[in-house]
């Protein structure tokens, strides 16, 4: 419990530090008056995306659905209260972001004392409309997919489409403001913010409320948010029971089952099969943990057509890097995506209410966790292989280099799955109400993300610099040895935790 508390505190501190640094960045280039706008943009975009991904798991198919809907509450009230629950659970993140930006704003702008309480109060309202919009989108996607037999697949495809759109839209926004000289960038930024305020009045009302003390703007922000909250769920209420019935019904085949030849597997493979069924059966798990794998394959394939320099340039704000330098970093460019989130971070906790099955069976804990690692590898290794192969070809690597990159990529998958499992077991949380709590918001996922991201970026940058003085094979060998050692330590650590239990 104390470990969880420390971990969560660290995550919050990291987010807050990032926001304060953003404020310092804006302040140092004389753009501090845009801080309120940046606050609204950040909170709105994060709340929009994250709510879109998780809203359906809060609003539909929850465990106590039958009991609550049978009580004398209107459907609109039930859905509204579920939304409020999601809003309250998410609020600490958004308020942390807002407070951090307020700190940065306070350091550079030295505002009047009344700005502080106004900023804080309005920050409670800022995420409401994006969350409502995201929930409505989620609802419409659920409604569309409910007309299909394989409604889960349809919903996953729609969610992935929106996620890719959101991911790639940042490049369009950056293109709008990064052209030319420093003055051009400032002018571009100013134009963008002007347009943004026009079509997103929330941003304008917040800015006017905080910068100028405009009471009408403050009241408009609060009133419109509350009115939309009141009205939004009238739309949802009509189809709500129908959608829930479809989601909770489960799949039934048309024909009676005929018992045929059965297949025996060893325990690890049996556990891996169960885990994969879990992964593909959960929209939250699949869309959150599966996004990176799909991205890796897409980026690899796209690089064959657009060239690896353009792929890398898109992520480095157009900075040109020689293909000879990029080549040595190929496994890590793909691993940035496949290693985004290991399945094993969440899979121990996702046993949840089913944990009694494992506890009552004669299954050794290490057999169980090896099975979970194996399931992760069944997904990550093919994605890493395809992405690495395609990117290596696009980077004009030799056959020997391709082989080494593929092998190194496979080792990275082992690293990711093992370290993810170590965190997943160490910070196991079985008493979750919603999968989002462990898949997206879990301590294991958060710490893994941080550790893995830091290590990957160090490796990537280190490879690029070392690539100028050492040959590719030596760099790959050094990286592989390092990751082999870390993976071995993680596996031993996992065994030690299991022994303690």
């Amino acid at each position: 419990m104390i470990g969880n508390l420390i971990g969560y505190s660290m995550l919050y501190l990291m987010v807050m530090a990032y926001c304060v640094l953003s404020a310092i960045g804006l302040g140092s280039v004389g753009l501090i008056e845009y801080m309120p706008l940046l606050n609204v943009v950040t909170i709105s975009s994060i709340s929009l995306i994250f709510t879109f991904i998780k809203s359906n798991s809060y609003l539909f198919g929850f465990r106590e659905y039958d009991m609550i809907v049978s009580l004398p509450f209107s459907i609109k009230t039930v859905v509204g209260d579920k939304f409020l629950y999601m809003y309250i659970k998410s609020l600490p993140w958004y308020i942390s972001i807002s407070l951090s930006m307020l700190i940065g704003y306070g350091i550079y702008a030295h505002p009047a004392i009344w700005v502080y309480p106004v900023w804080i109060i309005l920050s409670f309202v800022v995420p409401l409309i994006p969350m409502l919009v995201a929930s409505l989108f989620g609802f419409f996607f659920a409604k569309i997919s409910s007309y299909f037999k394989h409604w889960k697949i349809v919903q996953i495809v729609l969610i992935f489409a929106v996620m890719f759109l959101a991911f790639f839209s940042r490049f369009f926004i950056e293109d709008m403001i990064k052209e030319g000289t420093y003055t051009d960038i400032l002018n571009g930024f100013s134009d963008f913010t002007g347009k943004f305020e026009t079509w997103y009045p929330i941003a304008r009302w917040f800015k006017e409320g905080v910068l100028y003390g405009n009471v009408l703007s403050m009241l408009l922000l609060i009133a419109i948010s509350l009115l939309l909250f009141e009205g939004a769920f009238l739309l949802v209420a009509g189809s709500y029971r129908r959608i829930n019935a479809i989601i909770t019904a489960g799949s039934k085949s048309k024909h009676a089952y005929r018992l045929g030849k059965q297949q025996k597997r060893n325990i690890e493979k049996s556990v891996a099969f169960k885990e994969l069924k879990r992964f593909f059966g959960s929209i939250v798990f699949l869309t959150n943990a599966g996004f990176g794998y799909v991205m890796a394959v897409l980026v690899g394939v796209i690089s064959l057509f657009v060239g690896v320099e353009n792929i890398v340039g898109a992520f480095t704000q157009g900075t040109t890097i020689s293909i000879d330098i990029i080549r040595v970093a190929v496994p890590f460019i793909i691993y940035l995506m496949t290693g985004m989130l290991a399945l094993t971070c969440a899979s121990p906790s996702l046993e949840g209410k089913n944990y009694w099955i494992i506890q009552s069976l004669p299954i050794k804990k290490m057999e169980l966790y090896r099975g979970k690692i194996l399931a992760n590898l069944y997904i990550s290794v093919p994605a890493q292989f395809i992405g690495t192969l395609c990117l290596s070809i696009a980077a004009k690597s030799s056959v020997a280099e391709i082989v080494i990159f593929v092998l190194e990529g496979t080792l990275l998958c082992f690293f990711s799955a093992t370290v993810g499992c170590l965190f997943g077991v160490k910070f196991m949380k079985l008493d979750w109400e919603n999968e989002v709590e462990v898949v997206k918001q879990g301590m294991a996922s958060g710490l893994y993300l941080f550790v893995n991201m830091v290590l990957t970026i160090i490796m990537l940058l280190g490879s690029v610099f070392l690539g100028m003085i050492l040959n590719t094979y030596l760099i790959c060998a050094m990286r592989s040895v390092l990751y082999l050692i870390i993976t071995a330590i993680a596996y031993v650590g996992l065994k030690a935790i299991v022994k303690e239990e």
């Binding site: 019904a249 018992l259 325990i267 049996s270 169960k274 069924k277 009694w356 506890q359 009552s360």
Partner: protein, 239 residues
Amino acid sequence: MSILKIENYSKTYSGDKKAADNVSLTVESGDIYAFIGHNGAGKSTTIRAIVGVLDFTDGEIYIDGHSVKKDPLECKKITAYIPDNPDLYENLTGIQYLNFIADVFDIDANTREERIKEYAGKLELTDALGDSISSYSHGMKQKLAIISALIHEPKLMVMDEPFVGLDPMATHRLKEIMHDMCSRGCAVFFSTHVLEVAEKLCNKAAIIKQGKIIAQGTMEELTGGKSLEEVFLEGADEK
């Protein structure tokens, strides 16, 4: 020979509430043993400790001579557990779940096929084995849990309220299965509130009240000419 032996088992949750207080009982080979008590008496706490779901420090529990604390895997290999509300893997189909359990118990393909055919046929679940468990009713999940418990032919079957949610045919079949198991030298230990069933089905019983065993023995010793319901209610009234 005792299949299950509980010696001075106690379990205290945080806040000093004793859920089980010095529980001792023995289940012999061939016994169908009822574990009876009011709500919150400590039945599930005891059952969960037997099957290894709940850790405990006070007392000892032996299954066929193996200690649950020291040899948990050996105990689990010969035990089957059916909880009162089986939360099963909803993303699996019935047959996939049974194969998973069979894999854990290392049952070969032919043997598992025979046993699944037998028990799924008896409990009338064969037709639904290809469906996702998420589509099952409570009774169907209960049936699936029973089949999964029988697939490895356990020596000791431990069940928490096994008859809740079962249709009359399935209830009858389960009783037949229990008799059949015990005739082969196995034992069944289950908790129930349905005293008429316990009285007709079981040869032994124990009554637990506020964590303590207040009466145990053969059905004849326990009832002494009265009905089990009368004995239970008398025990419940005593302070």
